[in-house]
């Protein structure tokens, strides 16, 4: 019976597939999605599955396993109009996860979920100083403010506040401190917005096809008209890179990292001093590393290493290392899992890594959480299989708050 039924299932699929007409490729929509995918990878996502974790130093140094934590049911947000943004109260937790049904924070040994089901599917999410900024399914921005610590002294709350812009955006980047957001409107206008003061601090016209690669505290780096350009409230500054669009870029402190492909396909990341005057390459600041994340002060770069050719279908594992942006010196971690899926800065002295030591099937599903101390360069398993079996959380953490 199974054989007959499976034949019929096959026939049903083939006939349905042949009956459906494929739409033409929407190149505009595709380019927008590419922009978001680039931004997502820059947040530290490795692999095809966008699942990321960050772990607060406070939580982990207390020795708590995340698998022991319990989730508070998500209260419905409802569809009421957002509140005015008002004064910002920084969210203390550095640990923020997002999936399609909730924002979750880790705080004082427990997880707390804030529902936002009314948003529907989201395209991307970013940690801000007081919560998260989400690109919803219509490419609009939604700002959510989170507060509370779950102890009863500070009640948990989540609420939508007025988004910094109405209408659709092409791509967004948020600074490491979560205080500044940059985006491109569909009308190709670049906007730099102070999320604390809730005011736009810079705008400029850019060319169609421009992309926001990263945001800093007072500026952002864009790929525009075949050049890498720093946009802020002053005159745009061109970064002296090659003509090829960089694979990735990050901006923190007074340092810009730019990852490019070499002629042989090798990846190289260069560091630029963007502190004052014209951007200039840092002496020794060129390393054989892929996309990564700068520390908040820009002095260190956490990145995929050349041996981290990670494709989800390939055989070899991923790896990350730490680079000095001034000298290019590399430091390797000990105790990393065989597969590294994501990595993120927790604070100036700690990074968090998720991954697994599974060699075969299932390595993509498992998310063990490690923290790595930058003093000893040693990674320690903190939370085996971090309770994610049926979720696809997305990191929006790292330094903010």
């Amino acid at each position: 019976m199974n054989t007959d039924l499976t034949d019929q299932v096959h026939d049903a699929f083939v006939r349905r597939a042949n009956d459906v007409e494929a739409p033409p490729i929407d190149h505009v929509a595709f380019e927008a999605k590419v922009g978001r995918a680039r931004t997502r990878r820059r947040a530290g996502v490795a692999g095809a599955v966008a699942a990321v974790a960050a772990v607060s130093a406070v939580t982990l140094t207390a020795g708590l396993g995340l698998s022991d934590l319990t989730a508070t049911p998500a209260p419905p947000v409802g569809s009421s109009a957002p509140d005015p943004a008002g004064p910002v109260a920084p969210l203390r937790s550095k640990v923020v996860w997002v999936d399609e049904g909730a924002v979750t924070i880790f705080q004082r040994g427990a997880t707390y979920a804030f529902g936002y089901d009314d948003l529907g599917r989201f395209e991307d999410a970013y940690r801000t100083v007081d919560g998260v900024l989400v690109i919803d399914g219509e490419s609009g921005l939604v700002r959510m403010r989170l507060s509370g610590d779950g102890t009863g002294k500070a009640p948990l709350s989540s609420r939508r506040v007025t988004a910094p812009v109405d209408g659709a955006v092409q791509a967004v980047a948020v600074s490491r401190d979560g205080r500044t957001a940059a985006w491109l409107t569909l009308g190709d206008q670049f906007v730099l917005h102070d999320l604390v003061e809730d005011e736009t601090v810079a705008t400029s016209e850019v060319s169609p096809g421009a992309a926001v690669l990263a945001a800093g505290e007072d500026r952002a780096v864009l790929w525009d008209r075949g050049r890498l350009v720093l946009h802020g409230d002053g005159a745009p500054l061109v970064v002296p890179t090659s003509d090829a669009m960089p694979r990735d870029a990050d901006l923190a402190g007074q340092v810009l990292s730019v990852t490019e492909y070499g002629a042989s396909g090798s990846m190289t990341t260069r560091f630029y001093d963007v502190g004052a005057g014209e951007p200039a390459g840092l002496p020794g600041g060129e390393v054989p590393a892929g996309p990564g994340a700068l520390s908040a002060d820009g002095t260190r770069y956490l990145a995929e290493t050349p041996e981290a050719e990670e494709p989800a279908l390939a055989e070899n594992p991923a790896a990350v290392a730490l680079f000095d942006t001034g000298t290019g010196e590399r430091a390797d971690f000990t105790g990393l899992p065989l597969w590294v899926h994501e990595y993120v800065w927790v604070d100036a002295d700690t990074v968090a890594v998720t991954g697994s030591d599974l060699a075969g099937d299932g390595q993509d599903e498992r998310r063990d959480v490690y923290t790595c101390d930058l003093g000893s360069m040693r990674c320690v398993l903190r939370a085996p299989d971090a309770n994610l079996e049926d979720r696809a959380p997305y990191l929006v953490g790292g330094y903010a708050g």
Binding site: M1, N2, T3, D4, L5, T6, D7, Q8, V9, H10, D11, A12, F13, V14, R15, R16, A17, N18, D19, V20, A22, P23, I25, D26, A29, F30, K33, V34, R36, A37, R38, R41, A48, V49, A50, A51, D99, E100, G101, D117, G120, R121, A244, M245, R247, Y261, G265, E309, E310, P311, A312, L313, A314, D361, G362, D364, E365, D390, R391, A392
Partner: protein
Amino acid sequence: MRDSDEVAFGDFMAARWTALFRTAYLITGDRHEAEDLLQTSLAKTFVSWRRVRDKGAADAYVRRVMVNTAASRWRSGRHEQATDVLPDAGHDGGVESATTQVVLWQRISELPPRMRATLVLRYYEDLTEAETAREMGCSVGAVKSQTHHALKRLRSSLGDEMLAGISQGAR
């Protein structure tokens, strides 16, 4: 991305768009969802294109991204049902066969998304259990289990009369 990579990816996307769209459609059951899912998956693939060492296996890479992306959407509980009603193009086996196909498709559409995706990869893409497991990011055992339960559900929901028709038609 280097120019040559962009050209290669553009060629790949143009060549494989229709075939991958059909797979996306069977997974989602909805044309708009399928288009969005495929665009998103191709965008993710584009960003990682250099890392896809075996470009000949790019279809598999995209399918894997599609399944994973769809899975994260399913987990939100908002994409449980395949809802599209397509015009029936007619079938060689007559009215009875066509009716069977329509009912069978409806029953497949009512399966949980992961079961449906498993069937799509196994019986539309004709992947082995191991290949299906790799693309779904799960164990072979999970594929066997999903397939078993999916077929069991179909048998149960189709009823004896319909199953008899299927068996007869298969002879």
